[in-house]
């Protein structure tokens, strides 16, 4: 604004108000007075440094200050100045002979205590200019999608993370040779609180106190940084273009990752990150508020008010993929218990069954391909849960809803699900004769079967009784599972049992293939393809990798591992048609890799063969040379011997002469 005054000529115009006139006059006065007293310091050359922090002194006491300064410098053996120019405010300019001396002096005097009360700061000209300069704007270099997802195409990049509290290294599991091999070796990370992979495996997220940062691409470089104080949880959109961050109290922020900017801020108390749900085609975001359901639309996430629903007591919402449904669950005190599916295209509500009994809680699960929906209902009587039911509904037949169910007359502690192939496991504690809970669990296993005629059926796969393990982890292909106990300071910590679901006589049967132990186990995780299983213990820094049946592949107790994860993968990398082709013609594809596997499994044999080939090549070269020499001197040989070896006319065939005589009889 002050520059505008100079540019524009206001002299012809009259100042209209009186106040403005007064203010201008005062400014003119003040400028002269204010600056008259203050002396100006000459700080223009490289040979001088600026000192700040000296005590404020009158003109009379200035020479005393100077001597005190000199004494201070002598005491600490600093370089003495040549000339000094003091101020009343406690600032001085010291000059020296050389540039080097000046810089040295500045480094020495900086941040030193002149007095108990005064701390000195020293600057050279260069350092001031660097402080005053603003950093250059570096535009964001975004990685293309191919680069971020390049690790999927390379089979050797199916990596795990192993880290030793500050060093990150990515490795891949070579299951034929039974060892872990390096992909990226020991990259140093800054200090962080928490670490996780994004659901598609593109980004590695590090949480720190004030921000969270994303690493990715081939070399695990820093890609993006976002500021959010005390951030604790994240939710990614299915295509990983947007992310919602939550700080644990009440603030949600929606970000656009590629453009690194905030889109929306939402404040809501007493909720969690699970109240936000993205739809699978990335176009809508549903938020579960107290009054009802609010819907936001990508890419800017404005609220779409015509799509909002007003329902009381919403506890859980889920989008159903490949359809237009949104499943809603409502229950609570003085609220009608409802489970229904809202169809957005037709604006219809499809109701689940009527529920007339008292309910403790309801949970809803949706198939990843949108063919069925399952609910877990806990029934209550006199404030005590006495039964739980598991219901599965077919989405192809909604009028009326076809539902298959099974009940257990006990309070189920946990449910473990696998939603790609439809597997459930319910666990509850066993009770002894006096009806007191013990330390042993039973697991009920179910699977959802699709039949062309009968529709969808809930099959029981049997019970596993008397188990010391309290958790069940499904593999992503649904055929294998592992039961694990990770509770600290319990006598059963470290127990692992592997199981398998197989078909016998057109019926599904479970069997346990192995039960082992890993002392002080604290982490356990299946890999995203469901073939390998990792167990790790924090205390003992040991890592074990198992195959899906329970065979131990890798054991590592030497490297000090503090955290380990599998890198996530999307379920489908290929389109549907190509996947079908692969499944039908799997034999022709495996032939390509048979040779490679053979080389690893029969290493000794192949090494021998290779050695032989090298030796024979070398020797045949040598022999060919000799043969040349032999052939070249054919004429000389003929002369010396007297006849030609290769001329067939010079040979005579050997005839056997059998002498026979007639003996007089």
């Amino acid at each position: 604004m002050s520059q505008l005054q100079d540019l524009i000529d206001f002299s012809k115009e009259e100042l209209q108000s009186e106040y403005i006139k007064k203010a201008c006059e005062e400014i003119e006065k003040a400028n002269k007075d204010a600056l008259a007293d203050q002396p100006k310091l000459n700080f223009n050359s490289n040979l001088s440094i600026l000192l700040i922090g000296l005590p404020k002194v009158n003109n009379e006491l200035k020479p005393k200050l100077i001597t005190a300064l000199k004494g201070f410098l002598k005491k600490n053996n600093y370089i003495q100045f040549v000339d000094i120019d003091l101020n009343n405010i406690g600032q001085a300019v010291l000059s020296y002979d050389n540039e080097d001396q000046a810089q040295q002096a500045a480094e020495q005097i900086n941040n030193q205590n002149f007095d108990a009360k005064h701390q000195l700061l020293a600057f050279t000209q260069k350092s001031i200019y660097t402080i005053n300069k603003t950093t250059e704007y570096v535009p964001i270099t975004l990685k293309s999608r191919q680069e971020l997802l390049a690790f999927h195409k390379d089979p050797r990049a199916a990596v795990t993370i192993i880290q030793e509290k500050s060093k990150l290294s990515l490795k891949w599991l070579n299951s034929l040779e039974k060892k872990l091999e390096d992909n990226i070796n020991e990259k140093k990370l800054p200090a962080y609180d928490k670490l996780q992979w994004s659901p598609l495996g593109q980004y590695l997220v590090l949480f720190t106190e004030n921000e969270f940062s994303l690493y990715g691409a081939q070399d695990m470089e820093l890609l993006h940084k976002f500021e959010h104080k005390r951030v604790s949880e994240l939710l990614f959109s299915p295509d990983e273009l947007y992310v919602i961050s939550y700080d644990g109290l009440q603030q949600f922020i929606i970000w656009n990752i590629r453009e690194e900017r905030q889109l929306r801020q939402i404040v809501e108390e007493e909720t969690s990150i699970n109240s936000f749900k993205f739809r699978k085609d990335n176009k809508l975001l549903a938020f579960q508020a107290k009054d009802g359901i609010q819907i936001y639309e990508a890419p800017e996430f404005y609220q779409k008010t015509p799509l909002n629903l007003k329902v009381a007591g919403v506890k859980q919402i889920e989008w159903v993929p490949q359809t237009n449904y949104l499943a809603v669950v409502c229950y609570g005190k003085d609220i009608k218990t409802q489970i229904f599916l809202h169809d957005y295209s037709k604006n219809i509500v499809v109701k689940w069954r009527n529920i007339a009994f008292e309910i403790d809680s309801i949970q809803i699960f949706v198939h990843t391909y949108g063919k069925w929906v399952a609910t877990l209902i806990k029934k209550k009587q006199k404030n005590k849960v006495f039964a739980t039911t598991l219901q599965v509904g077919n989405l192809n037949k909604t009028d009326p809803f076809e539902i298959d169910e099974h009940t257990i007359n006990d309070d189920v502690e946990n449910i473990f699900t696998e939603l790609n192939t439809g597997k459930f496991a319910l666990s509850y504690r066993e009770k002894d004769k006096q009806q007191k809970p013990t330390q042993q669990f039973t697991f009920h296993l179910y699977s959802v079967q699709e039949d062309a005629k009968k529709g969808i059926k809930l099959c029981q796969l049997g019970e596993q009784k008397g188990k010391d393990t309290n958790e069940l982890l499904w593999a992503s292909n649904g055929n294998y599972f592992a039961m694990v106990n990770k509770t600290k300071n319990s006598p059963d910590q470290g127990k692992v049992e592997f199981g398998q679901i197989s078909k016998k006589n057109e019926q599904l049967v479970t069997e346990i293939t192995k039960s082992t132990n890993h002392f002080y186990m604290s982490h356990a995780q299946w890999d995203p393809t469901g073939i390998h299983f990792i167990t790790m213990s924090d205390l003992w820094h040991s890592v074990n990798i198992w195959s899906s049946i329970g065979e131990q592949l890798v054991k590592d107790t030497i490297t000090k591992v503090s955290d380990i994860h599998w890198r996530n993968k999307p379920i489908h990398i290929l389109p549907y048609k190509e996947e079908q082709e692969l499944q039908n013609n799997s034999k022709s594809f495996t032939k390509k890799y048979e040779n490679e596997d053979d080389k690893i499994l029969n290493k000794a044999k192949h090494e021998k063969e290779q050695k032989k080939r090298e030796m024979s090549n070398q020797f045949t070269q040598y022999l060919n040379e000799k043969r040349k020499i032999y052939d070249d001197k054919n004429d000389i040989r003929k002369k010396m011997q007297g006849w030609d070896e290769e001329d067939p006319n010079s040979y005579v065939f050997y005839k056997k002469v059998i002498k026979e005589e007639v003996v007089n009889s």
Partner: protein, 340 residues
């Protein structure tokens, strides 16, 4: 395969030789008798009487002359057809170690221990025609007439001296494990190499002079005859006495890079130890590995001599008890992958 054996003496056999055409073979034993056999049937055709235990033998290519060197200091000449002895050279010799005709049968090398000194073994080259002419004039010859002498270098006890390719070089082996290369008409030493720890018992060339194989107490080693560079080696615990290289070594149609080594512990120690090591080893030179072993359960003593058929279809061995066995390869040798 089904080998058959022939036996002409009680005493040990020192050498075995096959003629150029491959229908006759000769065995020489310690009692001074040289026997002549047919290879197909094993029929004995005749007997030549030499003076003293015969150590070496050689024939001409046209199968007319036979030369033998004995341990009593004489070199005998025989006519093969008929068995007539043409004459012998005796003077100034204590023991004859090696006799060999050159390529083309013009010259003859003789390695012997002279009467005067016991340290140096001398080698001499004589012209065959001159000797034959002189022998015709007189029945025996007391004084060796020398046409061309080769005085061996200092401290070199030769056990064998052979003609190299096209008679341009001579290779000599010593009792201390050294090999020496000489150029023939110039008689200049090209190279001298320490090769084995002990005595080199025998060495042979391949048919086209592409490699050279030695047999000693360590085992068998293979060299390049032009530069004496080590190419391959086979180690054995038992001392090896004889070596033979297949004539199909470098052939274009059916190459068989094989080599036969045989030996065993000396006869006087057979009663002391259990491990005797009398087997015959067939080795593949290119891959440096052993392909097979042959062991006869009736074998009493070590093998002293080996000779390959000139078409590579079999070989002949000479043993301690006067036996010599004839082996012929059967179909597995030609068709099986092991023997390539």
């Amino acid at each position: 395969m089904r080998p058959f054996h022939v036996r002409g003496t009680d005493r040990a056999i020192m050498t075995v030789k096959i003629n150029y055409d491959g229908d006759l073979f000769f065995t020489a034993s310690q009692d001074g008798g040289i026997n002549c056999w047919l290879t197909e049937t094993g029929e004995r055709l005749g007997n030549y009487k030499a003076s003293g235990a015969v150590k070496t033998l050689d024939l001409t290519d046209n199968s007319e002359l036979l030369v033998s060197g004995s341990l009593e200091g004489s070199v005998d000449f025989f006519q093969i057809n008929g068995g007539k002895s043409l004459g012998k050279l005796t003077a100034d010799m204590r023991k004859a170690k090696w006799v060999e005709f050159s390529f083309g049968d013009e010259n003859l090398i003789i390695v012997y221990q002279p009467m005067t000194s016991t340290i140096n073994y001398e080698t001499r080259i004589l012209k065959v025609q001159e000797i034959l002419d002189k022998i015709k004039l007189r029945q025996t010859q007391d004084v060796l007439e020398i046409t061309d002498t080769l005085i061996t270098p200092e401290k070199f006890k030769t056990t064998q001296a052979s003609w190299g390719y096209l008679n341009q070089t001579i290779v000599m082996a010593s009792t201390e494990g050294e090999l020496l290369l000489l150029s023939y008409p110039q008689k200049q030493e090209i190279k001298r190499v320490q090769v084995h720890d002990g005595e080199i018992k025998q060495f042979t060339f391949a048919k086209d002079f592409s490699i050279l194989a030695t047999a000693a107490n360590d085992g068998c080693k293979i060299f390049d005859p032009a530069t004496l560079q080590l190419l391959r080696q086979f180690k054995y615990e038992v001392p090896m006495n004889a070596v033979a290289i297949s004539p199909l070594f470098n052939s274009e149609q059916k190459p068989k890079p094989h080599l036969i080594v045989a030996g065993g512990i000396p006869a006087r120690e057979t009663a002391r130890t259990k491990f005797q090591g009398f087997d015959i080893h067939i080795c593949n030179v290119i891959y440096e590995e052993e392909v097979g072993k042959l062991l006869n359960p009736n074998q009493i003593g070590p093998i002293n001599a080996l000779a390959f058929f000139p078409d590579g279809k079999g070989f002949i061995t000479g043993e301690e008890g006067g036996y010599s066995r004839v082996y012929k390869f059967d179909q597995t040798y030609w068709e099986n992958d092991l023997f390539k």
